[in-house]
């Protein structure tokens, strides 16, 4: 096992974690401010990816494609919030789960109807293709490195927004006391739509970025959604910091588990058995991590309360 390979895999884990953060941040904000569990968040991820693939095919510009993913997901988010989600804030979690599950069905089949069942492809532009040389002679994918940097920049921007801006203050106020901000004269309805649109845009952006690595297809959002849930359970609900730490933990655990576990079992087993046992265990690693957190800190690493 070479150190270079290990570093490369660590970077991959970081890249995966940063993407999960974009999903989890929106989910945790929406839960924190509006008390809503949104299963359709994965659909917004998908909307972003499809919008990017469509615009890229049409204009050939990757930057326009990314912009389109943000706009399309945010617009979809606003529409969904105003038509459906708004009616769910006062409902119990069961109704929220069911209604947003219904939204998944509508989004997925609608997209299949519009784009067909075949996956689309979103190509990385030339200026992001190939590899870069990092210090110590590590050769790494330029695009993945860009994702890490962009993701970290978005994370930093989000932290800054929540800590320093007026909208951030309102979001924090909303998390602490929902009635209070109404009493302070903040237009709650508009704040909620805005937060939902922000979460949607982050999800759509993540979908577009990942769409260039994997294929763009119906159903791509839900596995990521469930991983984002694992992130939130680990990090603690409503906490952006928790979402960030949780996302990086999950990204690293998953990627390094897939890389290291088969190697580790290779020390005590024959290669083919080691590969299959290692791969099976690796597929469960993040859930085992989640179970461990539940055992010792049911409210999550940064969760203040058991919601």
């Amino acid at each position: 096992m070479s150190t270079i390979l290990l570093i490369e895999q660590t970077l991959n884990g970081l890249q995966f974690g940063v993407m999960l953060f974009l999903m989890a941040a929106g989910l945790t904000l929406i839960f924190g401010v509006m008390g809503l569990i949104n299963l359709a968040h994965g659909s917004l991820y998908m909307v972003g990816a499809f919008a990017a693939a469509g615009v890229a095919a049409w204009t050939g510009s990757f930057v326009l494609a990314l912009a389109a993913s943000l706009v399309a997901a945010a617009v979809a988010g606003v529409i969904v919030e105003m038509v459906v989600i708004r009616r769910l804030y006062d409902r119990d979690h069961l109704d929220q789960v069911l209604a947003t599950f219904a939204l998944i069905l509508i989004f997925s089949e609608g997209t299949r109807w519009a784009f067909g069942s075949f996956p689309l492809f979103l190509d990385t532009p030339d200026w992001l293709s190939g590899t870069v040389m990092l210090p110590f002679g590590i050769e790494y994918s330029r695009y993945r490195l860009a994702i890490i940097l962009v993701g970290l920049a978005v994370a930093a921007g989000l932290f800054w927004m929540i800590a320093r801006t007026r909208i951030g203050i309102r979001i924090r106020a909303g998390e602490n006391d929902r009635e209070m901000i109404g009493a302070l004269g903040v237009n709650i309805s508009r704040l909620y739509t805005l937060v939902f649109a922000l979460g949607a845009a982050l999800a759509g952006f993540a979908g577009a970025l990942i769409g260039a690595i994997q294929s763009v297809q119906v159903g791509m959002g839900e596995p990521v959604l469930i991983l984002a849930f694992v992130v939130i359970v680990i990090g603690g609900i409503g906490s952006i910091k928790g979402a960030f730490i949780g996302a990086i933990l999950v990204g690293l655990t998953d990627t390094l588990g897939r890389f290291l576990l088969p190697l580790a079992f290779g020390l005590i087993m024959e290669p083919s058995a080691a590969t299959s046992v290692g791969a099976s265990l690796a597929s469960m690693a993040i859930y085992i991590l989640m179970a461990g957190v539940l055992l010792f800190r049911p409210q999550g690493l940064f969760g203040a309360r058991a919601a």
Binding site: L94, L103, E109, I237, S283
Partner: protein, 327 residues
Amino acid sequence: MRRETLLNAAVLALLLAVPLWAQATDEPFTITLATRAVILAIAGVGLNVALGLGGLVSLGHALFFGVGGYAMGILAFHAQSYTTLIDWPVTIEGTKSMPVIWLVAVLASALAALGVGALSLRTTGVYFIMITLAFAQMFYFFAISWPAYGGEDGMSIYVRNGFPGLNTMDPIQFFAVCFGLLLLVLLIVWRLSRSPLGLMLGAARQSEARVQALGQVPYRLYLTAFVISGAITGLAGALFADLNRFVSPTMFSWQTSGEIMVFVILGGVGRVFGPVAGAALFIVLEHSLGGLSEFWHIYLGAILLGVVLFARGGLYGLLAGRERAHD
């Protein structure tokens, strides 16, 4: 008689009449559809123990459905390939006997529910939803990556398992087996809902503080309900696998979890017979809408959305009125 009782009788009668009529007119496919409805109804009745009685929004019941399915698949696979399941410390062989398979499916899924429940029930509310969903996904990925039993492709069982004295390959006889089990499960859940445990569980759902002040530990009540719930859904999984003579990781998927929940909601949460009506309605919708458009899930989604936003209480809420506080 109360309207709800009448409705219960009507649902069961309809579920029985359709396959009998199909048998008379030689429409085996319709019998299979009815069998599917019956099996999915059992899964829904199982979930309803957690959801309706205990108020536990489990979005991971596909886990138990899948465990039941794989219990059947693994036992039958070893029986049909004449291999042993394990050799050490005792030799365990596969089997093609339905009763044995059901027992294993029920025990295995109960055990899974005990483990998953013990962890998930440390939390409540939205955490519980996310965690149950995540654990089901863990089993899904495990089933995909574990090559011994078909991995991603799943595995086929060539001949349906046997039940003493019956020819289970005959659709109507297999239907009868499943229908009998549905009746049994309904009886158990109906008695459970009126038992001391059912009363206390419902009280925990409404007020945990009350139940604690009565000396009861909500966690234990919930866990008991969760295990019973998982075991019943596991039984449905074994039957479902037998119906299709095929198991695959799809049984563990989040869509399956969602659909089981949809049966409960379409019928009416907390009504013992609700999921039966819901599963039957689901099959009817799937069949009629599926004939209309290949994208029938859009309509299903719209209907579900309508039920959640405007007709809480589902079919039973519409037809039988508000649930009566029974005595």
